[in-house]
Amino acid sequence: MTAPKDPADWTAYVIRIRDHRDRAAFAAVFAHFAPRVKGFLMGSGASESLAEECAQEVMATLWHKAHLFDPKRAAVSTWIYTIARNKRIDAIRKQRRPEPEDLPWGPEADPAPEDAIALQQETERLKTALDTLPETQRALIQSAYFGDQTHTQIALDTGLPLGTIKSRLRLALERLRHAMQ
């Protein structure tokens, strides 16, 4: 099983993992996302061996928690990102990650398929918008997420004054917002 033509179809793969414990679907998701998770963790300062181990654990968590995946609330890339981020906090920063309580009305058993499709499309648009940002702005957003970095640390890395970083990041987010409208 290879990667889907339409990136939004990752949802169908995870649902096959969720409902049928489908190893071929898992292998395809693994081939696409595991190297990205590893790159993300190395970008946050993990050694290659730690990043490899954590990326494997992130993908194993995806398998075990597949029943919690709700395509109406998150795209597959979003969901994997949150698992990878939590793994980074846990394994690299040695902190716990408190999770909010679920919405009082709980996950709906049978989400309307059109809601899930709309969410996947929005996520794709956001990715396209991110691609069209000028390089410096995209890099700032990336380092805000990638590194175990505060704005202060980004300032040290780039040699830019803190105020400049904050205003550029704000500008980048404004442009993203504009592109999404």
Binding site: P7, R23, F26, A27, F30, A31, A34, P35, R36, V37, K38, G39, F40, M42, G43, E48, A51, E52, Q56, E57, M59, A60, W63, H64, K65, H67, R73, A74, S77, T78, W79, I80, Y81, T82, R85, N86, R88, R93, Q95, R96, R97, P98, E99, P100, E101, L103, E122, T123, K127, L130, D131, I141, Q142, A144, Y145, F146, G147, D148, T150, L176
Partner: protein, 215 residues
């Protein structure tokens, strides 16, 4: 539920989505989001952006046997952790209960003077997290900040200058804000406060006592 008027800043939500905050702030934010759908939606938006950044980011090749090793991990690991029990009408949302070890009646309070009581909660990452219990009608000692302090109301309400903060509301105080919260009459006000630097109290006694009280 009353309407939440005072929310988290987008900057705070983005940093929480990015996972770059000290644990004390993460606990407070997760607790607020358990009560506030507006901030939950914004957080999920910033997590979606995180997913887009991950998907567009650099790949680093996995080891040649990584898939096999991962499937072995899956076989070996316990299937799942049980979901948290939902408690009806709890004062503390679930993420805070995890840190307290129970709801409001499980807190081990220590006196802070003037009838105000506090309880420190253990977190990592260089910021402090504490619960405050302010008797109805009482003022919290006037204090400024070296860093950022977030205060989330869980029970009762307090007033600070022209603003009123009730259950679910967050007050964000920075180094330049010198605030003077006063608990409203009625029930005692219980707040969760996260600070990334020690507080600066104005009173001499409090300044001397500060290192001993651990505030």
């Amino acid at each position: 539920m009353t309407k939440i008027e005072h929310h988290l800043s987008e900057q705070m939500l983005m940093a929480h989505a990015a996972g770059t905050l000290p644990e004390a702030f993460d606990v407070l934010i997760a607790t607020h989001i358990s009560l506030c759908d507006t901030c939950r939606v914004l957080l999920e938006t910033y997590e979606t952006l995180g997913g887009a950044v991950l998907d567009a980011g650099e790949e680093c090749a996995m080891g040649s046997d990584a898939l096999t090793a991962t499937l072995a991990r899956i076989e070996a690991a316990p299937a799942d952790v049980p979901a948290r029990p939902r408690i009806r009408d709890a004062v503390f949302p679930a993420p805070l209960r995890d840190y307290v070890g129970g709801d409001a009646d499980a807190v081990r309070w220590r006196p802070l003077g003037g009838g105000v009581r506090q309880a420190r909660l253990k977190t990592a990452g260089g910021a402090t997290l504490r619960l405050l219990n302010i008797p109805a009608g009482t003022a919290v000692p006037d204090h400024g900040h070296r860093g950022t302090e977030l205060t989330l109301v869980l029970q009762g309400a307090f007033r600070d200058a022209d603003d009123r903060f009730a259950r679910g509301d967050v007050e964000t105080a920075n180094a330049d804000l010198h605030h003077h919260p006063v608990a409203e009459a009625g029930v005692d006000c219980i707040c969760l406060a996260a600070t990334d630097a020690p507080l600066k109290f104005d009173g001499l006694i409090q300044r001397i006592a500060q290192p001993f009280l651990g505030i």
